[in-house]
C-alpha cells in the first residue's frame, strides 16, 4: 500500500481472502492507512521515546542517538 499501491489489486485481495476474513482485511487496511499517515507526520516532528531500552528517562538529544537515523542499539547489534 505504501510502496506500490497499484500492486494492491483484485488478485491481491483474492490472495488476502485465502488467509483473512473480510473483517480482518478491513481492520488491516485501516490500520496500515492510519500508520502510513501518522508515522510520516510524527517523523516530521522529530520526537523520540522518553525512555532508553534499559528503562532510563533520557533527554531528547540522547534519545535521538538511541533511536534516530543511526540508532546506537542497532549499531551495537550489528557489531555482535
Amino acid at each position: 500500500m505504501a510502496v506500490d499501491p497499484d500492486a494492491v489489486d483484485a488478485a491481491f485481495f483474492d490472495e488476502l481472502r485465502r488467509h483473512y476474513s473480510e473483517a480482518e482485511i478491513v481492520e488491516l487496511g485501516a490500520f496500515i492507512g492510519f500508520n502510513l499517515g501518522y508515522h510520516t507526520f510524527f517523523g516530521t516532528l522529530k520526537f523520540y521515546p522518553l525512555f532508553s531500552p534499559d528503562g532510563r528517562l533520557v533527554s531528547q538529544v540522547e534519545s535521538e542517538k538511541l533511536y534516530g537515523a543511526a540508532p546506537a542499539s542497532l549499531k551495537s547489534e550489528a557489531a555482535e
Binding site: 483484485a10 485481495f13 485501516a30 492507512g33 492510519f34 499517515g37 507526520f41 516530521t44 522529530k46
Partner: protein, 178 residues
Amino acid sequence: MSYIAPLPPDAITDPELRALIAEGEALGVPDDLFPRIVARAPEQAVPLMRALLMSHARGNVDHKLKEIMRILLARFANDKYFASLRSRKARAMGLTETRIDEGCFAYEDAGKGFSEAEKCALRYADLMFLDANQVDKAFYDEMKKYWSEAQIMELGAFIAFHYGMAMFMRSLGAQAVG
C-alpha cells in the same frame, strides 16, 4: 464498487454508528460507502468515523481550507472515492470548484489571493507525503508565524489521518456512487 463489498445499510444496527453515518451523509464527507465498508470490522468503524468527522468538520481551523487540503491529499493519493466527495458545509460557506482547483494546483500564485497562513497550511499538506524532509524545523518555524501550536497539531493530524484513509480507500478500488 470496491474489492470489499459494503454492508447493506439495514445490516448496521449500532445506533452510534448509524448516527455517525447520518452525520457524514449530512456533511457529504464521507458518504455511506466508507462506513458501510469499515462496518465489516464493527469495533473499528465507530472510532474511524468519529475521527474522520471530528478532524474535518470541527476544530479551530477554517473548514473551507481543510476541505481544499482534504481534496488535495485525496488527489495526491490517487483516491477517486474521497477526491470526488464534497463538503456541503464548505460549499455553503462559499467554497467553489474553481477555488478547490486553485488550492490544489496554484495556491502559490500571487494572483490567486491565498493568505500566507493558507499557503503555509496547503504547503504542509503538499509536502508531507511528497517530501517529508522539507517539513523540518525551518518549516515549522514558518508555520508558527501564522498558526498556534494547537492549530499546527490539528492540521498535522488531519493531514495524516485523511491521507491514510485515502490510501486505504484507493487500495480497495472504491469509488463514490453518483
